[in-house]
Subunit: 341 residues, 2 copies
DNA sequence: ATTCAAAATGCAAGCGCTTACATATCTACT
DNA sequence: AGTAGATATGTAAGCGCTTGCATTTTGAAT
């Protein structure tokens, strides 16, 4: 059995190059503080040995990890993929590594992940949405961990947020639907508890309805986790009603895709028999047919700006400031006028 | 400005509980080696202080991180999401944390990520596919880092693999298509270079064609990165031919979804004008309409088994053994008989 | 040649934890 | 009561790196 040759250390490099470990360290971290000749010597030792610095040791000594943690509700569907990708690209660009974990939409798991990420020395954290136990904010604050919230902008939140106004965005979409003449509207929403995005979207719809003078008690809402199957099930349920809705607003594109599939399965035409809308404008929205009317969210921009802001907070110890991004309605054929009622 | 209270350490806990740091450490790691009374005292100190062990310090001292690294080609589409999710669930179950990074299908980025993950103390690595610079295998071997390959099973690879036979799977699908009477077949493949999965799938198709006695020179292949848009573009290109193919086999469901969208855009009926098939059987396959005939890959099983195997390798210092999983063809309406030719 | 600030390098003290090994404290017997 | 053997706890040596401070070297300027 081959002998286990453990990884070369700074010491090995230093010996080989005939310098102190301090110098090697400087070569790696602040090369301009080392004269060229030495630097070259060290570099060749590094190459010869195939040296890679030990991350744990570095973090410990420097009390700095150049790592940012992000906790997202789920990796299973594409909702967060694009924004996160942009976030990570921008971080990489700034010399940071991203550590991602998912909470499966469970508050206690999220809390555990936050602790884990901090224990791992994350220099900063990205969180999704505002709804969570206040003691988490206390903890973050006490530990002075820079943290930023994305996917939902609120002006007076405890942590700065980079995102959009979920309520307003959905309000506008609902208004648009109403303006087309729809009077029987139903909603397939994500689980509202602990999810301000979902909650605010529903409120946006409520706003629009009461605004329009319609009977708001009529609004039927099904709450269900963000999964395609659930969209299908919820659609089924809504269509069982004596008087069917003419438009169904979904909390996101995934739910809407499920609804569309079910409509097709039931032989209903979209939008002639029923209109369906989504939210997010992920790729899925253009894959279903007919394509989905939805709210376009600038995911990449959001990810990029969140990265910039968070790095700024980390490096300059600032409190950071939020930023509201604009969304826009994307009109596609899944939404039409209601059938002659 | 509030004073920065830095994180409590083992020492703080030890002092508060009136024991040595060793005892506190044992309470946390091997509780049965500590008498109950002490354990309780320590526990309350931990709670009172809100102590969380410092990960870097722990890794350094224990030379063990309980972390597994995985490098996947992309997070942007769902191909790897499901399998990785299962992988991570099983790891979590076994007390390990998963660190994921993506290589964007670039070999040099993958190599960098491998080094990064090792520097971060990963106890083991999950890699996707077999095609990579042999020196990477040397490096892994020299450092004695347990590593496993997924998404492609090969009997005699340098590293054990848990996956399926891409060539055979596609061979069977192609045979099925041929048996329906298709004679003009085209392929939209992922980029083959450095991607044995893509390469083997194409070979599977070639096998089937030469097997069937058809002119294999006729096989038109477009190679393009795995993105929806590219599927659409490739479809376009293929349909420009003087004699259009009657069936298009795509390297995965994403490409197939793009092709479907483009077909619809061009007013072509699937499968009456042209049949389209995918590979993977991700959710997408059932969202497009008509639903996609594809090869079902047991993603979750693969992820789970990979986790089990890798943990076994890490904990028992074994070389690990590969496992071949079965795939199956899923027949859906995107594939039909060719139009009367 | 001398002198001296600036530049380059070395020294060594940690960072917060785990874990041999040493020591102290219990058991349950005789 | 005394003692061996098991059990519980303490001591202290690292793990591989960074960094403040001390020391040496360099390069002008005199």
């Amino acid at each position: 059995m081959a002998k286990l040759r453990s990884a070369p250390t700074l010491d090995d490099v230093a010996k080989m190059a005939g310098v102190s470990t301090a110098t090697v360290s400087r070569c790696l971290n602040t090369p301009d503080r080392v004269v060229e000749a030495t630097r070259k010597r060290v570099q060749s030792a590094v190459d010869a040995l195939g040296y890679t610095p030990n991350f744990a040791a570095r973090v410990m000594a420097a009390k700095r990890s150049f790592t940012i943690g992000a906790i997202i509700p789920t990796m299973e569907n594409a909702i967060f993929a694009r924004g996160l990708q942009a976030f990570q690209e921008e971080l990489h660009h700034r010399g940071y590594t991203l550590l991602v974990s998912s909470s499966a939409y469970k508050p206690d798991i999220e809390e555990e992940q936050i602790r884990t990420l901090i224990a791992r020395g994350a220099d900063g954290l990205l969180l999704i949405g505002h709804d969570r136990d206040p003691k988490i904010y206390d903890y973050l604050n006490q530990r002075k961990i820079p943290a930023l919230i994305a996917w939902s902008y609120l002006p007076d939140s405890r942590l700065p947020s980079v995102g959009f106004d979920n309520r307003k965005a959905m309000f506008e979409l609902a208004n648009h639907v109403l303006s087309l003449g729809h009077e029987r509207i139903a909603v397939i929403s994500g689980i509202v508890e602990g999810n301000d995005r979902a909650r605010l979207r529903v409120e946006g719809i409520r706003d629009a309805i009461s605004h329009s003078g319609l009977e708001s008690g009529d609004l039927k809402i099904v709450e269900t986790p963000y999964e395609i199957e659930n969209g299908a099930t919820a659609f089924c349920e809504l269509m069982k009603a004596e008087t069917r809705p003419t438009a169904i607003l979904c909390g996101n594109d995934v739910l809407a895709a499920g609804a569309m599939r079910q409509a097709q399965e039931m032989g209903l035409d979209v939008p002639d028999d029923v209109s369906i809308t989504g939210f997010d404008d992920i790729e899925l929205a253009r894959i279903v047919s007919p394509e989905l009317t939805t709210v376009h969210v600038p995911h990449r921009e959001m990810g990029r700006k969140a990265a910039l802001q968070l790095v700024e907070m980390v490096e300059n110890q600032t409190d950071g400031e939020g930023e509201q991004l604009a969304t826009r309605i994307v009109n596609r054929p899944s939404l039409g006028r209601p059938a002659q009622g």
